[in-house]
């Protein structure tokens, strides 16, 4: 499946629709924080050098695996609410997809939330680093599953 603009997984499209109904920037962030608070975090005892995402201004960790159906499963945690919120949206975008689809999933979905342009270079790059890491993990899992 070639995911991209106009063709997102239904769970992500739902999130994009919610964001597109909001015109006030502050409200969009508050919505992102709501996603952050609903997200299941990676427990701190599982944080390690292996899970750490380098390049984020704040500490961020991700752990990737396959669920019982063989779908991709990413769990993540970040000190910063914005990164945690982006992780929560990313979970809705990619969790459950075949890992080979996650390995090429476009990061451009964040633009459709109306937040991407406002993120500072460091923060945006931090999320990009995290998502790049997730795609690399997905590639490894896809190769392992093949």
């Amino acid at each position: 499946m070639d995911w991209g603009e106009g063709n997102w997984p239904a769970s992500l499209q739902e999130v994009i629709d919610e964001f597109s109904d909001v015109f006030d920037a502050m409200e969009r962030y508050e919505m992102l924080f709501d996603f952050a608070s609903e997200c299941t975090p990676l427990p701190m005892e599982e944080w390690s050098d292996d899970t750490r995402v380098h390049g984020c201004q704040s500490e961020a960790h991700v752990l990737c695996s396959l669920d019982e159906q063989g779908g991709f499963l990413m769990i993540g945690s970040a000190d910063a609410q914005i990164v945690q919120g982006l992780m929560a949206v990313a979970q809705k975008a990619i969790n459950g997809l075949p890992p080979e689809e996650v390995s090429t999933f476009p990061v451009t979905f964040t633009r459709e939330l109306g937040l991407h342009d406002s993120l500072s270079p460091n923060r945006a790059n931090g999320f990009l680093n995290m998502f790049t890491r997730v795609r690399q993990e997905a590639r490894k899992l896809a190769q392992g599953a093949a």
Partner: protein, 404 residues
């Protein structure tokens, strides 16, 4: 000071909905006159100084020497002591690399240094050239003159250099440089002052400071990026070996030797940043027309609005003295329960307010205290208004509550 007329001179402040710029300790806004001067250099006389005899070369040579004179006058100095550099960092590095160090030399700094006045000394220490000793501040970051005097006494005749910021970029705290100079000189050492956060904001006269070198950056005082100043007394400059040797730094060369020029040009080898020097002249012209004492009072008055407004919020810890006036135009806060980068992004998103989050290049201060989250800093300048400060306080309160 006619604030409205002043603000009219800045393109970014003339916008229909101007952003509230409170990151002035990093870089200030630039007025039309500075932007025009830079453009004029490239469009009217894009030549070099001190070399070519044609009309453009002559005009640029005159502009450079005029700017040197004006910069000197702005800090109460002769033009012969004014060296054009890229920024404060380069100026400090010139001193660090230019001194003929002796075995066992000690350099004292404060314990709240910008990396630019720390790393050069740590580099020298790592190479075994000097010993660096940070002097502890009082608990509210104020300068501890007794601790400093004791540190000088401890260093004894090994004390070679004291290098201190007149005003700290972390907290706006001012160090009594004149008193420091007296103690330093009593020990036969030199005093280098980092004026990056003082020269733009208050009256500074090197004769009153009695320092040996003063370094500051034009981008923090309405001027161009890539321009800084190293001022030195005649004998202090004579003590330095130029670190950038090259064209126009020398009187003559042969295959067996060379002779440096006597003037400040000996530290300015190579083609200079003439557009930057032209912009420097324009910024100094603007600032010279103002009462810098009034600028300082204006910033202190505004800083009280911010300090009182955010200091009272639960979980907010103001770095430095609690009296806002003692922090010049800086209010830097540790925020419990919020990521400071989130806060900075939301201040921008929700209120069009631009501030700095992180460690402000003073990592060592945070590391000493085990603070790995950084802080959020607002820093004022002469064009900021009371309305902007109230807007900051209101928006800050709103976003802190939203995140928590």
């Amino acid at each position: 000071m006619d604030l409205q007329a002043l603000r009219e001179q800045f393109p970014t402040l003339r916008a229909d909905e101007p952003l509230t710029y409170l990151d002035n300790a990093c870089v200030t806004l630039r007025p039309d006159s500075v932007i025009d001067a830079i453009r004029d250099y490239y469009t009217k006389q894009p030549a070099c100084a001190g070399r070519s005899p044609h009309r453009w070369g002559t005009a640029v040579t005159q502009m450079v020497s005029r700017t040197r004179r004006k910069v000197g006058a702005f800090i109460g100095a002769q033009p012969s002591g004014v060296v054009f550099m890229r920024n404060t960092t380069e100026a400090i590095n010139q001193v660090a690399s230019g001194i003929d160090w002796r075995d066992g030399d000690i350099v004292l700094t404060s314990d709240r240094e910008h990396n630019s006045n720390l790393v050069p000394w740590l580099q020298l220490e790592r190479r075994g050239v000097i010993e660096h000793r940070p002097v502890p501040s009082l608990s509210d970051n104020s300068f501890d003159i007794e601790a400093f005097a004791n540190a000088c006494a401890d260093a004894g005749d090994r004390l070679r250099l004291v290098s201190l910021p007149q005003v700290g970029n972390l907290d706006g705290v001012e160090i009594p440089i004149r008193e420091v100079a007296a103690i330093t000189h009593d020990h036969g050492a030199r005093l280098l002052v980092d004026g990056a956060q003082s020269v733009p904001h208050m009256p500074v006269d090197v004769k009153n400071l009695d320092c040996d070198w003063l370094a500051f950056s034009m981008h923090k005082m309405l001027g161009p990026s890539g321009m800084g100043i190293l001022w030195g007394s005649d004998d202090a400059l004579d003590e330095l070996e130029p670190r950038t040797a090259g064209g126009e730094a020398v009187v003559d060369t042969s295959f067996s030797g060379f002779e440096f020029r006597a003037g400040p040009e000996r530290f300015e080898g190579g083609i200079g940043n003439y557009a930057g020097i032209a912009g420097t002249e324009a910024s100094i012209d603007l600032l010279s027309g103002l009462d810098m004492g009034e600028v300082r009072e204006h910033e202190q008055r505004l800083n009280r609005i911010i300090g009182d407004g955010v200091g009272g919020i639960s979980g907010i810890d103001v770095i430095g003295p609690q009296d806002a006036a003692a922090r010049g135009g800086v209010t830097d806060v540790l925020v419990d329960g919020c990521d400071v980068h989130d806060l900075a992004i939301l201040l921008d998103e929700a209120g069009g307010i631009l501030v700095r989050s992180g460690f402000h290049c003073v990592n060592s201060w945070f590391n000493e205290r085990g603070l790995d989250e950084g802080s959020l800093r607002s820093s004022l300048y002469l064009y900021n208004t009371e309305a902007e400060c109230r807007h900051f306080v209101d928006t800050f309160t709103e976003v802190v509550n939203a995140i928590r």
